[in-house]
């Protein structure tokens, strides 16, 4: 399908696919609940774009083994690697390593190599990427920021890990900075003017209670973490602001991925609404795993002669049930189209088999683009 934008007419021809997003945006971020085929959708979109001659890099996070095989990225790391997509040299992939990305940031903003290595060795720091919710997503955005000026690519497609909380990733930079700016620990290190001393005193009391519960080692290590991090918050804050600016850029669009089940659609809808509420551009909606439409009015006159009447009835009921399922799936998804307008919806039929090679991704791409 080709989209020829005219000056005054809306581009109706492309309303049903994501083609113009792939053509006109520089960054596409795929978000949505777990188990809906987000990683496959990101990979398929990237393969489709590359086949259109757009130089594309897909940032994936923890792809299922089979998908990694399909992309041929089993052993790739935190840097983009060229993928052979039907001989076109336009596809790159990178598998996000959130810990390594964070380590790179620490090394970048530390004032000295000693400061960096002290932080990297601290237990609080080592557990930060696993425990602070949203940090994985935030590191995906960080990686994106790092790569978005790379002259090898025209388009970045970014997968995000499933979140239990839609706000996690939007909130992660703020939470990270809040964490680093922790008032209690600051007060203990630097009590400040006399008027604040009682608070500092109370803070020490809290830490004493915590020491009793978890042991003083842990508390000591937490204090050491904040001492080591001293002076780096500003660098992190500025970096986080630049990342946010990129996310709000006109050339960046979010695509919400869902599947046509009630709970999943609700989750996706609240995700999309929150994104829009934060001023991000939600431009697309992919709904995977739809039941195909079988009700075409095609009849086979032979059937009554080869099947018993009971079997004929079983087949008719099966057709009716599939049709009811298809309709209720559509109803589940259609209501959020109005909610997330002008984001367009693309329904992808249930795949006949799991994605296992690049042809499967190209096939999925055809229903997306």
């Amino acid at each position: 399908m080709s989209a020829e934008p005219h000056d005054h007419a809306p581009v109706l021809a492309s309303r049903r696919t994501l083609e113009d997003l792939v053509r006109n945006k520089k960054v596409l971020v795929m978000t949505g609940p777990g188990g809906v085929g987000k990683t496959s959708s990101a990979a398929a979109l990237a393969v489709g774009a590359a086949l259109m001659g757009i130089r594309t890099c897909v940032v994936t996070i923890d792809p299922a083994k089979r998908l990694a095989d399909a992309l041929g990225i089993e052993n790739i790391g935190n840097e983009p690697v060229q993928i052979d997509a039907f001989g076109s040299g336009d596809l790159y992939a990178v598998m996000l390593d959130a810990d390594a990305t964070f380590d790179d940031l620490v090394v970048k903003y530390a004032k000295s190599p000693e400061q960096a290595s002290k932080i990297l060795a601290n237990r609080v720091y080592q557990n930060l990427t696993k425990n602070l919710s949203g940090i994985q997503e935030y590191m995906a955005m960080e990686k994106l920021y790092e790569l978005h000026n790379d002259s090898r690519f025209d388009l970045m497609v970014v997968d995000t890990p499933p979140s239990s909380n839609a706000l996690d990733f939007l909130d992660a930079p703020r939470r990270l900075i809040g964490f680093l700016d922790n008032k209690v620990f600051r007060l203990i290190m630097n009590p400040g003017p006399a008027i604040l001393r009682p608070v500092s005193f109370a803070a020490r009391a809290v830490l004493r209670t915590i020491s009793k519960v978890v042991g003083s080692e842990v508390v000591d290590e937490a204090v050491a973490f904040f001492q080591d991090f001293e002076g780096m918050e500003e660098g992190f804050r500025m970096r986080a602001e630049s990342v946010q600016a990129l996310m709000r850029n006109d050339a960046t669009a979010f695509i919400v991925v869902t599947a046509p089940r009630g709970d999943t659609v609700k989750e996706a809808a609240s995700f999309g609404e929150k994104l829009a509420g934060f001023g991000f551009q939600v431009a697309g909606l992919i709904s995977n795993r739809h039941t195909p439409d079988f009700d075409t009015g095609t009849r086979n006159e032979e059937l009554p002669t080869v099947l018993s009447s009971r079997e004929l009835e079983v087949l008719e009921q099966n057709l009716t049930r599939m049709e009811q399922l298809r309709i209720s799936e559509s109803k589940e998804v259609d209501w959020i189209v109005g909610l997330l307008a002008p984001a367009r919806l693309v329904k992808v039929p249930m795949l006949a088999k799991d994605i296992s090679n690049i042809e499967d991704l190209a096939k999925m791409a055809r229903s997306l683009i």
Binding site: P33, A64, R123, P162, S164, A205, V206, S328
Partner: protein
Amino acid sequence: MRETIESTTVLLVAGKGGVGKSTVSVATAIAAAQLGRRTAIIELSPSPVVEALSASIANGDAVLGSSVEKLSIIHLRPEEVLVEYLEDHGMAVLGRRLISTGVVSVIATAIPGIRELLVLAKTKQMERSGDFDTIILDAPASGHLVTFLSSPKGLADIASVGLLRSQAEEVTALLGDPSRSKVVMVTLAEETPVSETIETVAKIAQLKTVAIGKVVINGLIQRPDISSQSAELLASLTSSSDEVNAYNYVSSRATMQSQSVAVLAHALSEITSIELPFLFTTALTTNEASTLARYLIDPSIRLGMPDVG
């Protein structure tokens, strides 16, 4: 599933996102209540199907019958549990305020697994109280499950001096006793969830912290019931028809699913599994959960098939 429910108090329901973990948790809770057991379901993050059950309990939904009196829903938020725990151990009111400014998140980060430990400690406390015959924990998605289950033992090492040590030991004892607790793994009959299930089960087996009670294979589509000769005849038809296309689609999905089931059965030969039917619906309400509950109690009933012949 009946013997799993009746032989164990705490069931940790686990699985990857999107496989229907909360649905199976709710169905299992309803099944336990219908077996006359005082049942609690512990929910760690908001879930629509648990909320639907909550509404059904409040409204005395007829589908639950008399089992409604046996069902409780407990919402647990790990951060709150930690604050509560600290308060019980001498932290004053000002402490609570300081905690809300983030000390807890710093400490929780310093000790990975502390949130999980506290959830399990609270579960153990409920189990010891004797108020419940069945406690169902709707556990986090399986990526976190191994952390979740390995936390108490790891913690016993870390929290070697603090008050948490005794908690860690008691939770380890709870998990180590199959009459007190077991894991129920939920999966779909598809390649990715099946391979993740096999991986998770292997990791849990290696950790030896807890027994796997059952693997629940959710959403199995049933092949329309026609004779094999008729199926062959359909395959040989030259002109197409809507009924035949729909049949072929369901039939090929059923074939794919049974291949995944076979892979699972081969890899997990020591663990029994139970298959739940696909219900041809997009929204799971308490009604559907009750249907699945009946099936969990008695798998011989036929569900969701057209009632013909």
